[in-house]
Symmetry: D3
Subunit: 137 residues, 6 copies
C-alpha cells in the first residue's frame, strides 16, 4: 500500500452560528467566529489516496487526474464562495472544519473509488495553527 497526497487550496467566507441560539449564546460558544458579517480563510486541502501501483506507469494515480477531480468536485464549489450560503454539500450543517472534511470526503469518495483506488484521508487546514483530518467511518 502506497499513499499519495495532493494539496489544493480554496479561499472562502464562513461563520459559525446556530440559528436557534440567542446572539449571546452564539457569541459565548463561537466568539468572533460567529460574526454575522462573515470572515474567511485560505483553506488548504490535502487529499490522500491509497492503492496498488499501476505496473505500466508506476503510479497509484495519475496526479494530474487526481488534481482535476478535486478541482471539479470540490474546489470549484468552495473557492471564493460563502460556505454557509453557497456550497451544496454544506447546506443545513454548521460550517465547521469538521463538517467541511466530512463533506469533502462524501463528494470525493465515489469518484476516487471509480478509479480503482481508495480515499484514505481528507485533511483541511484552516489556519497555520488548526487542522482537521477525517479517514471515513
Amino acid at each position: 500500500m502506497i499513499y499519495v497526497t495532493r494539496r489544493e487550496r480554496f479561499c472562502a467566507a464562513h461563520r459559525l452560528v446556530r440559528d436557534e441560539w440567542s446572539e449571546e449564546k452564539n457569541d459565548e460558544v463561537f466568539g468572533k467566529c460567529s460574526n454575522p458579517n462573515w470572515h474567511g480563510h485560505n483553506y488548504v486541502l490535502f487529499v490522500t489516496v491509497k492503492g496498488n501501483q499501476n505496473p505500466e506507469t508506476g503510479f497509484i494515480v495519475n496526479i494530474k487526474h487526481l488534481s482535476k477531480i478535486i478541482k471539479e468536485k470540490v474546489i470549484t464549489k468552495l473557492d471564493h464562495k460563502n460556505i454557509n450560503l453557497e456550497v451544496d454539500f454544506m447546506q443545513g450543517k454548521m460550517a465547521s472544519t469538521e463538517n467541511i472534511v466530512i463533506g469533502i470526503w462524501e463528494e470525493l469518495e465515489p469518484v476516487i473509488n471509480a478509479l480503482g483506488i481508495q480515499l484514505h484521508c481528507i485533511k483541511v487546514q484552516e489556519t497555520e495553527n488548526n487542522f482537521v483530518e477525517y479517514y471515513g467511518n
Copy 2:
C-alpha cells in the same frame, strides 16, 4: 539604521466591487473576487520599523510593545471582520490589498512615530502567491 519586523495575522472576509459598474463589468474585471456573498483570506501582516538602538536595551523597539500596538490599532479592527462593511479605515475604498496596506500605514504611522522611531514598510500577504508592500509616500 536597523530594521525590525513583526508578523501578525488576521482572518477576514471581503469582496472587490465597484457599485456604479454592472454585475457583468465587475465580474469581467474582478472575476470570482467579486462574489456578492463574500469570500475571505488568512491575511499575514508584516510591519517593519527602523531607528537607532536604545543604548540601554539594545532594542530599536520593544517588540512586545510593537506587537501590542499593531494588535490594538489594526488587528482588532480587521480580524474576523468583513473588510468592506466593518473596518472604519477602509470605508469608501475598494477592499484591495493595495488599499489595505495604505490603510494600515495610516493607522500605524502616528503611533509608531510617537515611539521615536519610523515606520518603514507595511507588507500584506493575501495568499501564498500574492503580496503587496507600501513604504509611505
Copy 3:
C-alpha cells in the same frame, strides 16, 4: 472518528547530559547538544485529539478551549524556560525530544479525557529537520 490538531510554540533552553558519564563520553554521544552553557530551540508542538462531533456545534472540541488547556498545562511551563532546570514534569529525565513528548502527553491526557474526547498524538518539532511523535502506550 475525526482528528483535530492544534499547533502551539515554545522557546526553551536545554542540554543533553548524563551526570554519571565523563565529559568526554557526554561529548562523544551527545556532541554539541551537551554544551554545559546550554543552547535552545523554537519548539513547535502539535496536539491531536480525536472523538465524535458535538451535534450542536459540529466540533470535536472547541479549539479555543483546547488551546487554553495546552497553554495552561504545557506552554507556561516550557516557554522561555530551561527544560533541564525548571520544568517539573522533566525533572530526573534526559531533556530529549522523546522525553518531552511523553511528558507533555502525561500532562495533557487526563485533562483532555475530562472533556469527553481522547488524546491521539503529541508531536514536537525541535528543528526544521527533526520531529518526534508519541501516541501513548
Copy 4:
C-alpha cells in the same frame, strides 16, 4: 512506541517514460513530465523510525547517526543526479515518486533494523503540492 523523523533533501533530474510506448502515448499519459531533455525537483525526504527508548540516552535513535546513514545510503546516490540514469536502486523502474519511496525503503530498512529499531515510513515530497508515503509491505 515513539516515532522519530529526520528530514533530508536532494535535488535531482528525472523524466517519466515507457520506452515501448510511442512518443504520443508517453506525452498523453505523462505530459510534460516525459520531456526527453529531463526536468528536475528539490525532493524532500522524511524518514520515520520507531522503537523503544534507550534508557541511557532517552533516544530512539541518535539523530546524528540516523542522518549519517540516510546521507550515505540514499542522499549521495540521489543528490545532483539523474534518477533515470545514475541511481542504482532505480534501474529498470519508472522514475515515479512511488518507486522512489519503495527504493529508498529497500536501501534503508536493513541498516535501520541493524540499529535495533524499525523503519516506519518513507515520505518523499516532489513539489509543494505532491507527496508519497510508504510504510513497507
Copy 5:
C-alpha cells in the same frame, strides 16, 4: 509607490559547465552542479512590479493579468524544461540563477512596461537556502 509581488513556480533541469574548461576544472569550480547527466530544482519565482493605483480598481495591476503574462512569457519556457538546452533566452549563457533572473527580467520588462507600470525586482529561489534578486541595471 506601491509594490505588488506575484509568486510562480517552475521545475527544471540544468547543469553548470564551461565547455572550454576540462572536466576537472568544471568539477573543481562547480562541483556536483556540473554533473553531465543533469540535476534539477523546484525554482520559485517572485515578480515585483510597482506603480500608482488605478483609481477605479484600487489595483497597481490586476494580479490575474500579471500571472497570465508571467506564465506565457516565462513559465511555459522554463517549466519541465532543460534550462541549458531548451530555453531560448538562456542560450549561450551559464545556467546560473544569476543569469536566470537577468533573462527573466529581459523577457518581462517590455510587457510589464506596456501595462503602464514598472518591473521592480525578479527574485528566483533555487533551494530553500539560496536565492538571487535583480533590480535591473
Copy 6:
C-alpha cells in the same frame, strides 16, 4: 548589481538582562526573555551579498564558498552556544537580535570584501514572528 542570499541556521541560548538593573526592572522591560536560567531559539540567518557577475562562472559569488565562510566565521561561534557567555563578538553587549545582526555584519564584512564583492544585508529571524535586518552604517 545582482544580490545573492544564503540562508544558514544556528540554535543558541541567550537571555536579555542589564546587570545594573534590579530583577524587577529587568523583568518589567524584558519579561520572560530575562529568565536567569536562559531560554533559546532556532535562529535563521540570511546573508545577502551584491556585486558584478564573474564572466566565466556567471556567479556573483560561488555559493559554496559563501556558505563555508559564513559557517567558519559565524555559525561555529553561535550554533549550540550560549550567546551571552560564549560568543566572542557579543561580549559586553545585550544579546538582542539587533546586536546579533551588527555583530555578524562586523565578522563577515572584511572577509566578504576580500572576495571582491560587498556585504549588503544581514537578516536574523528569531521566531516566526520577529526578524531584524541590518545594511551596515
